[in-house]
């Protein structure tokens, strides 16, 4: 079990709404807005807002997480966008 999987839900929650870079197994690197970490599997969900108004969602398996770093603390606007994601059924796009 790696360091990431040993963290508590409160420690995982610290990353929510922040932009992070995650280095996973085999030096795979991911960047995006931290939406959640599954408390069961420690899987991370990152979100990226693309220029065409669509959304890219990436899940990184908890067992493969090596390091995670915050690159942007985010702001109220981003927090608002992320809070409502997936809450109301179908995603209707966003204003880039």
């Amino acid at each position: 079990m790696n360091e990431w999987m040993k963290k508590s839900p409160l420690e995982w929650e610290d990353y929510v709404y922040k932009e992070v870079t995650v280095v996973a197994s085999e030096n795979k690197e991911y960047k995006g807005w931290f939406l959640t970490a599954d408390p069961v599997s420690a899987n991370i969900v990152l979100v990226n807002f693309l220029e065409d108004g669509s959304l890219s969602v990436t899940g990184i398996m908890g067992h493969s997480v090596q390091t995670i770093d915050v690159v942007n603390e985010g702001d109220h606007r981003m927090r608002e966008k992320l809070t409502h994601l997936f809450m109301s059924g179908d995603y209707k796009g966003h204003s880039p």
Binding site: P9, L10, E13, L35, N43, V57, G59, F86
Partner: protein, 95 residues
């Protein structure tokens, strides 16, 4: 009065209560993200640089396996398959 009670900061809750609340919020969000993925094409990065694409179907409670359909592998298309999460590094889909 009751208004004072409602305004009491969350930090006054016990650490157990705070942790339980965090756990519930994180888990609900994760399950909702999985729901949003159902029926969509997903690309999976597996170990040793193997990339496969499939339509996501379901997972189990402990997220140990992903049940997928139309799995595109280097040796052909598998109508239905079970991907072990221990073989997966990451997955990506578009909304």
């Amino acid at each position: 009065g009751s208004s004072e009670l409602q305004e009491s900061p969350m930090s006054e809750d016990s650490p157990e209560t705070q942790e339980q609340r965090a756990r519930a919020t994180l888990r609900e969000r994760y399950l909702r993200s999985l729901l949003a993925m159902v029926g969509r094409p997903v690309s999976f990065t597996l170990h040793q640089g193997v990339l496969v694409a499939a339509h996501f179907g379901a997972t189990d409670l402990d997220v140990a396996n992903f049940y997928v359909s139309k799995l595109q592998t280097p040796i052909g298309v598998q109508a239905e398959a079970l991907l072990r999460c221990s073989d997966i590094i990451s997955y990506t889909f578009r909304l």
